[in-house]
Amino acid sequence: MNMRSRPTPLSRKKRLLPLGIAALLSVALLAGCGNNAGNSPAAGNSAGNADTGTASPDNPPKTENVSYRLGDIINPEQVNNFNPFLKTGNYRPLFDYVYDALFYFNPVKGELIDRLAADDGAWSADGKTFTVKLNTAAKWHDGQPFTADDVVYTFQTLKDHPVLDSYQLWSDTRLSKVTAVGADTVAFALNGAFPSLPNYLSTVYIVPKHVFEKENPETFLNKTPVGTGAFTFKSINESAILLAANADYFLGAPKIGELVLQRFKDSPAITLSLQKGEIQGTTGALAMPSLPKLLENKDNKLQQFPGLSTYAVIINNDKPGLKDPAVRKAIQQAVNRQEIVDKGEMGAATLGNPGFLSQGFGSLVDADLEKDPSLQFSIEQANKTLTDAGYEKNGKGVYEKDGVKLSFVYYMAANAPAQNKEGTMITGWLKEAGIETSIKLVTWPELTSLAMAGNYDLIQNGITVPPDPQAALEVFHSKMTAPIGQNTPGLNWERFKDAQVDQWLDQAASADAVRRAELYKKVQDRVAELAPIVTLYSTGKTPYSETAFTNYDTSVPATSVISLAKVTKK
C-alpha cells in the first residue's frame, strides 16, 4: 500500500507535529500496512469480492477449492460443544450441514424431504408402528458405515436421558420402542396414535454410535463432530467455523469446496458484509431497514417463506379487562398488521393469519380468515367494539367499564430495535383505540418467564412451534396452560381455555388426515373469533447473493444444506 513509502519513524522532536489524533492514526496505519502481507485472504478463498481478495503471489489460488461464506450471529456460548443432543452451548444450524436426520423439514413448502430415510416411511394398519427404510449409501465422515444401529442408538439415548428428549418423544402416549429390522430398516412402535411422528423425526440428528457410546451424551462436547452430512467439520476459530465438502456424500457431493460460517455479533455487521460481498448469504439475521439498499444490487436476493416462528401480541386471557373477548377483539382490530410487516419488517415477513397457524403449514391454514371483514384493521371498528360492549372513555380518553380501566403493561424484549419499533407502533394504535399501555423492556429470559408464569398483561414475542400443526394449535389447548402464578406446562402462555377447542384438538390428535384438516380449520376459526392472541407475522427469510455463486435451490431455504450442496461458482 502507498502508506509504506512514507518516512517511517515519526520524529518526536519535530516542532510541528500533526494533531495527536492524526499521529495516532498514522502509527496505527503503518502498523496495519506493515502486516499487510499476512492479510490477503488465503489461497483459494476466491469467494466473492475482488476488491479485498488480492492473493499473494507465493500462494497461487486453487480454483477447485471454492469457498462459500455464510454469515450469522454465533456467540462464544454457541461453540462450546458440537453435540446435537445438547440444547445449549452449540449453534444448532451447524448440525444441518454436518449431520443428517431421517427427514428434513422444508419450511418453504411445509413438507418432509428424505435424508437418511430412503423412503417416506410406512404406517402399520393400526397406526401404531412406523417403519422407515434407511439409505445405506450413507457413510460417517470417519469412513465407518452408517447402519440401523446408529438410528436405534440415537433414539434409545433420548429414552435413557430424558433431559435430552426435549419434545418428549418417549412420553406415555408416544414412542414405546425403536428397533432395527435388519441392517437397513428401523421400526418405531408407539403407545398410541401419533400421526405427527415423521415431522418430529426431522428434529433428531442421527449420531454415530461408535463415537457416542464411549461418552456420556449429556456432557459430551464432541469437539470434532463426525456426521453423515454434506459437509465435514474442519476447524473453528474466533471468526468462523470452517467446513469442507464431503466428497463421498451419499446424496451428491457439494460443488463448493469449503463452507465458512462466519461469526458476527450483531445483524448490522452481517448486512454490511453481505452488501460488501464479504459473505454470500446469511441464515436469516439481517438489519431489515437495509433491505432495499441491499436489493438495489440485482445480484442480491431475498428468499422469503413463512417459517415456524410466529410473532404475536400475546394476551393474558386471565387478567381483568383482557378476560373480556370484546377487549381482545378491539386490540386485534386496532393493530395494523400489514403496516407492521411493511414498515417494521420491510415487507420481508409473511403476514400472520388471525387463526395463528403459520402459512408454512400450507393447505391446513384457513385462508378465508384473511378476508373476514371483522378481522381487518380499523381503529374506528375497535372503538365501536368497545362502546358496543359497554365501555366508556374516561377523562383521559381511556375506556372503562365497571371500574376496570383498559390500561395494561406491554412487555417486549430489550436489545431488539426492530421489535421495539413495532411495539411503539402497536401501542400507538392502541392509544387511539382508547387502550392505555406502559411499555416495559425486559431481557429475553425474563420475557419467557413472565409469559410462562402469567405475570403479564401483554407480551410481544415470537412463539416457535415444532414442525407439527397439532403442536402449533395446542398453543390454545387448556392442558398446556396453568393459572396465573404457576408455570404453564406448554406454550399456552395466553391462558386461553375453551372446551370446544380442547375437544377438537383431542379428536385431531388421532384422526386421519382429512378429518384433521377439518378440525384444524374449526380451531383456527374459533381462535380468530375469540382473539386470545394477535398474530402479527411469521418469519423465515434468507438473504443471499448471486454475485459470485449461482444454482441456488430456492424450493428449500437458499442457504440450507440442500441448496448449498448444489451451489456453484459463477
Partner: protein, 328 residues
Amino acid sequence: MKIQLSYVIRRVAFAIATLFAAIVMNFLLPRLIGGDPAEMIASQTALGSPDVANALRKQFGLDDPSLVHQFGSYIAQLLHGNLGISYFNYPVPVKDVLWNALPWTLGIVLIATLLSYAAGWFIGIKGALKPGSWFDHSALGVSFFINSVPYFWVGIMLILIFAYKLDWFPMGQAIPVEYDSLDSLHKLGSIAYHAVLPIASLALASIATHILVLRNNLIRVLSEDYMVLARAKGLSARRRVFHYGIRNAFLPSFTGFMLSLGHVVGGAITMEIVFSYPGIGMLTYNAILNHDYPLIQGAFLVIAVSIIAVNLLADLIYPLIDPRVNLN
C-alpha cells in the same frame, strides 16, 4: 523512602476485606435479577416442558432452595479454584469460558489504554508548555469533541471511513477466517491488522481526559513558586519542565492510569459489538441477559480481583514515587 510494614499490612488487609465483600456482592447481585435460566432454556427448546426445566434445574444445582446453601457451595468451589459451570455454556466450566475471551480483551484494551495515555500525556505536555497556542487549542478541541460523542459513534465512523469506504482495514472480527492455515508470523500480523481499528477507537475515545488532566496539572505546577524560583535561577525550560514539573504533575495522572489498568479486564462491550470482536465485555453482557449466574459471578470476580490487585499495587508504589503521601 522506605515503606513502613504496618502500611503494607493495612493495605493488604484492606484488599482482602474488599475481595471478600466483592465475593458476597457477586453472589447476591445476579440472583437479584430474577428469572429462571432453566425455564428459559426449556421454553426455547422443549415447548416449555416443566419436566425438562426441572431436569435442567437439577443439572445446574438450582433445585437447592436455600440461598445460604448455595452460597456455601459457591465458597467451597471458589476455594478449590472452581468457578462453577456456566448454564449457557453447559457443560463447559466458567473458567474455560473466561479464559477463551480474556486474551482478546487484555490485548486490545491494554494496548489501547497504554497508547491513549502515552499520546494523551505527550499532547498534554506539549499543550501545557504553550497554553493557548494553536496546537493546544486544536488538540483540546478535537479531543473534547471525541470525548463528548458516544463511543460507538466513533467506532462506527472509523468503520465507515477506513473499512467500508477506503477498504484499508477489515470491518470487524479479530482474525481472518482462514487464520488456522496461516504460518505463525502471518497469524500475528493478521491479529495486529484486525486490531488496528478497535484499538484506535478505544484510544481516541479516552484520550481527552488524559490530555486534560496532565495539561492542567502541569500548568498549575509550572506556575507554583518553586518553579518561578527555578526560572529566576536560570534553569533551562527543558530542565524545569522535565525534571521538576512533570514529576509533580504526573501523580494525579498516575492514579488515573492505575485505575484504568484495573478496569482493562472489564473489557469494552460496545467496542466488541461494533467490531464483532471477541472479549469479556460481550460475554458478561450476554451472561446478564441470559441469567447465567455462574458466568456473571466468574466474570465479576475476575474483574474485581484485577482491580483490587492493581489498586493494591498502586497503593504500594505511590509512597515510592510521591514522598508527600502520608503513610499514616
